[in-house]
Every structure is written in C-alpha cells, then in structure tokens.
Amino acid sequence: MPKADKQLNLTWNLLFLCWFLASASTTGSLFFSYVMQFAPCVLCWYQRIFLFPLVIILAVGLFPFDRNVVKYALPLAIAGWLTAFYHTLLYSGVIPESIQPCAQGVSCTEKYIDLFGFITIPMLSLLSFSTIITLLIIIARLNRQRRMS
C-alpha cells in the first residue's frame, strides 16, 4: 500500500473512532434520560446540543472521507467542552451554585451517578468532549502533513 493511502486510512480510522465516541456518548446520554429517567438539567441540554450534531456531521465526513469535517466539527466540540468544563466545576463545587443559571427545574448540581466514587455525568461529558477534540486535532495535523508532502 502506498504511504499516502496508508495515512489516509489512519485518518479515516481516527475519524471513525471520533464518530463512535460521539455516538456512544449520545447513546449514553439517552440511556440516562430515557432508561434511568434522569431529567437533564439546563447545562446538560447545552452539552447535548453540541454533542448530538457531531454524530451526524462526523458520519457524513466518513462517507466519502472529507477532511474538511474537522472545520465543522471542532467548533461544536469546543463549545461542548466549555459547557462540560463549567458544569464539572459547578458540580465539584469549585464554582458556587448561587451563580449558576439554572435555578428552576432540575438542579445542575444534583448528583445522579457516582461511578467508582468519583466519576460523575458532567465528568463523563468532559472526558468525551476532550477526547473528541484531541482526535479532531490529530486528524487536522495529519491532513496538513499530507497537503505539504
């Protein structure tokens, strides 16, 4: 296999992984709300708004492979990451609840799950957005290398 093809394959695989992560996160979030019946708070909704489209956008970028997909997916992922980061800080008590915007309805700091004693839902979200961003950046780097060579 020529080197260019090999690299293209690697990029595609990374993008696939990225899509799979977004899809798994989406599935997970749907599982929390529809199976476990946790009501999503306002901040969770914002994170979902940035997460759900990634499933579609990344899938479209896979067939046929479109390296421009990073350009469309990255802003969403970053916005989602920022919300998740804020949410994690709020959840862990670094930012006091009084200054948070979701006083009505579901509290953004109510703890729902506590896997292994420290993994919370906002943390899962932050983790997933972080990984998606990292993968997208790697893909962008690989793209640039290919263009230069």
Binding site: W12, F16, W19, F20, S23, A24, T27, L30, F31, Y34, V35, M36, A59, L62, F63
Partner: protein, 217 residues
C-alpha cells in the same frame, strides 16, 4: 469494508442500549419491587409518610381518616405485623378524610410532620379519638389538650396547619383514593393489591402472602 465497520458500530450501540435498558429495568424491578410498577405513584406519593425500613419490599398502604374509629382500631394490628416481620414491611399513610371536618386533623398531622412528629401525633390522635370524634357530638377543639403528649410545639402547629400546600396534599390523596376505589376507611393495599374482604384476619393473610412472595425461603 468501511461501510461494514460503520454499520457494525451502529448495531453495537443499538444492542448495548437495548440490552442495557432491559438489564437495568430488571434490576430496578428487583430492587424496588412493587414501586417499579407503572401505577405505583398512585399508591405512594412523594409527600406520603412512610414508616419502616427503606429496603422493605412489602408496601402496606393505608388510606386513613384520623377521625375514623376503625382506622384507630387497626393501628395496633399494623404495628404488631411490622414488629413480627422486621424490615420487611413499609407502612404508607394516605389521607382519606371522609368524616365531616376530618381535614382539620389532617392539617394538624401535616403540621406535625414539619416537626418530625408525624407518627407520634397520629398515635396520640388514634388513642384520644373517642374524646373528640364522637359521631353525635364531634368536638375537634378537644384534640389540643392531647397533642402535647406527642411532644409537638402547639403554637407552631397552629401556624403551620393553615399552609395552603396541605390543601393540595389532601386533594391529591382524595383523588388517588377515588382512583383506587377507596370509599371507606381504612382502605388497605398491600403492594398494590386491595384488601378485598375487610377484616383483621384477611389483612394479616394478605400481608403474609406478599411477604412470602417477596421473601422466598
């Protein structure tokens, strides 16, 4: 090849979700037993007072009227059954103030709940009932001389009992009583099953059946 991978991943996610939800629901059903039933909230509302261990699997729901003699008469039996089966029975109190003016006592109970003296107050009410709930000559004001026995702050109760939130609780309980076809008090349900033939023995039997069903061995 890539399409196959994509399709396979979709399938995996779908099945994980599907089997995950089935597994989770089974787990919950096992954990919550009766409370996992669709209509469980008709029997137990969030405001309902519950006595007994959190892990108890037998829900004994009692629609009661503080001014009803039979409700008072059943109280020792319920207590006795709970003592005989420690940790297995949960008593849930719902209001069905059918007697004229009985919501007055429900208000007192709800006010006592705020002081964490619900059960003490209910007990005092049942025991002193004959002095204030006579059918020919009800004298609700007489209840006040008995309440100190429950260890409640009387002045606070007088303030709290006019809380409009209590009205909502009564309306909700009466609505649920209607839904569940409770027209007389006490109305008993054991894990959602109504006590069809009224009586001490019958109630004991129903509770026994549910304990055996939920605690095999």
């Amino acid at each position: 090849m890539k399409y196959v991978m994509f399709g396979f991943a979709c399938l995996v996610l779908f099945f994980v979700f599907f089997f995950g939800s089935t597994y989770y629901k089974n787990q919950q059903a096992e954990k919550f037993g009766f409370m996992a039933q669709e209509n469980a909230s008709t029997f137990v509302r969030e405001h309902s007072q519950i006595l007994g261990s959190d892990d108890a699997k037998v829900y004994l729901v009692k629609f009661t009227d503080p001014a009803c003699e039979t409700c008072a008469a059943f109280s020792p039996l319920v207590k006795q059954m709970m003592d005989a089966n420690p940790g297995k029975i949960k008593l849930v109190i719902r209001y069905a103030p059918f007697h004229h003016g009985a919501d007055y006592f429900v208000r007192i109970l709800e006010a006592a709940k705020k002081q964490d003296k619900f059960w003490e107050t209910l007990d005092v009410m049942y025991k002193s009932q004959q002095y204030w709930a006579s059918h020919s000559n009800p004298q609700p004001q007489r209840i006040w001389q008995f309440l100190p026995k429950a260890g409640v702050d009387i002045e606070q109760i007088k303030k709290d009992m006019n809380d409009p939130a209590i009205e909502k609780i009564i309306v909700q309980d009466l609505a649920d009583a209607k839904t569940l076809d409770v027209h007389k008090t006490p109305g008993f349900f054991v894990n959602g099953k109504p006590l069809q033939n009224f009586g001490y023995k019958q109630l004991q039997q129903l509770v026994k059946t549910e304990i055996e069903a939920n605690y095999p061995n």
